[in-house]
Amino acid sequence: MNLSLDIRHSLPGFALDVQFDAPSGITALFGKSGAGKTSVVNAVAGLLTPDAGRIALDNSVLFDSRQNIALPVHKRQIGYVFQDARLFPHMTVEANLAYGSRWAADRPGPTLAELCGLLDIAHLLARYPRDLSGGETQRVAIGRALMSRPRMLLLDEPLAALDASRKADILPHLERLRDELAVPMLYVSHSVAEVARLATTVVILENGRVAQTGPVGDMLSDLQMVRQIGVREAGAVLPARVVAHHADGLSELSVSGGRLFLPRTALAEGATTRVRILAQDVILASDVPRGLSALNILPAQVTDLRAGDGPGVICQLRCGTDHILARITRRSAEAMGLTPGHDVHAVIKAVSVDPVDVGRG
């Protein structure tokens, strides 16, 4: 399933002019507050009718200003988790969820019981929305949208109000939806960690326009992107394969550049996945270091160096056939005499690969 979008719309003091293609999987819409993310998502849902343009989901045209097509919202079969949950105040949580399934398409999807367990909302079923806390509200809203078994799911910062452990509970389910049901998603988020884990494609909006777009791996290991994403969150995403699970709780994965030891993943041996390695979690060493607590040491070659405004340098390395990024100080770069072509060792702490950052491939 492929969403292609090309819209123009102007509001007083703000102009939207956005084109992108979102292939199967999850497309992350990323951008600062006020960049136009919600507006784009609303256009897909049909809640905002752009001045001009075209939006299509595979062969089904949702909107086309030239052909004068604008499919009504309720016929689009597009689920929407709103930034402001919008639960129905006159219905219990249970009725809100049931409402979601009322006009659901005949498609496989999670049951009410499954969703309750997953979102930890079973104890809230009899309550009315005004008796829920902020996070509870959002969880129910996610549940309601999933109950409608949509062709595509729009999520507008759905996890912003959730704590880390609830986030971690929900993310796998979104992944499963993406993979098993092939429900494509447009996912608005401020969190690179979420984006890196979930997204197949990243679209970066800046001031109503697409600043960058591309597959998540390329985007996150692109030196140009470091600026957009913020230095703290920059890092590469590598395809990997689970080789073995070890008795001491580590899983061994192979990447093109060698072996990585990570905290045990739930994936079966042989499964493919991807791991995210933050630039700042990589230490470079001239020689193979010894007596270190870090388990993962991969040989690599410097391919590019880019100095920022500060004291840092982003170093792009070829590691096998993939690229990884390392963020080091200029002082270290000079001390080690790093230049493109230089051979180094990338030291990566096993534990620095976030479980959240090991998604399915």
């Binding site: 809640l47 929407y80 409402y99």
Partner: protein
């Protein structure tokens, strides 16, 4: 009790109740439709439509009744049409009293429903749309339930108004005992003769009890609905 009110008076009470209930029920769907159109749509002549609905509030009731008589009387164009097409005759019938009461109560009903409608957040309706509900279904499952307190208030207001309506009714359908003599018409007749005050007051008390009871019930109902 039968001694306290004569049979004619009991008949008037029963008729008034019937007229008010039927007028309220019949005008409810129209009231909702009109309120919806006014609250949510833009169309040419909207303000004219709005004005027309409010006309009975502004006109002296006698004038409204007279206009009804001219239009729906046996000689009136609408009256003739209804008679010919459906065999329905309104003038000097209790059905005419229903029409008069409904028309007089309509602006109050529409006002109340419209105000309630304007407070229903359209964001909730668009949320329902994304879940696959069509316009009609959204209306029935989201808008209408959220509207309910206002709807109840509007209906009861209309009922109370219909119970008390006099000027338009007596002018349109006269004051025929057993057919068109409503409670207020009976009160009027009593007030026209010396010494009729006591009988009039008895009727007024009944009317007040009924209307107040309805009002109170609506308050509690609306609260129950809203508290959910």
């Amino acid at each position: 009790m039968t001694a306290w009110l004569g049979p004619d008076e009991w008949q008037a009470v029963a008729l008034s109740l019937r007229v008010a209930v039927v007028a309220t029920l019949i005008s409810l769907p129209f009231g909702v439709a009109a309120a919806y159109a006014l609250a949510r749509w833009e169309f040419p002549g909207k303000q004219l439509f709005n004005g027309l609905i409010h006309l009975p509030l502004v006109l002296p009731p006698v004038v409204t009744g007279y206009l009804l008589l001219l239009a729906f009387g046996p000689q009136g164009p609408a009256g003739r049409f209804l008679e010919a097409a459906f065999g329905v005759s309104l003038a000097f019938r209790w059905t005419g009293a229903v029409l008069a009461a409904a028309i007089m109560a309509f602006p109050l009903m529409v006002r109340a429903i419209r105000l309630a409608l304007e407070t229903v957040d359209p964001k909730l309706e668009s949320a329902a749309a994304t879940l696959g509900a069509g316009p009609r279904q959204i209306f029935l499952t989201v808008t209408l339930p959220l509207l309910l307190p206002g709807l109840i208030a509007g209906a009861i207001l209309a009922f109370a108004k219909a119970m008390g309506e006099f000027g338009a009714t007596i002018t349109f359908v006269s004051n025929i005992p057993g057919e068109t003599q409503t409670l207020p018409s009976a009160v009027y007749a009593f007030l026209q003769v010396p010494g009729g005050e006591a009988a009039a007051m008895r009727l007024v008390i009944i009317s007040v009890i009924v209307s107040m009871g309805a009002l109170l019930a609506s308050e509690m109902l609306a609260r129950r609905v809203a508290r959910k």
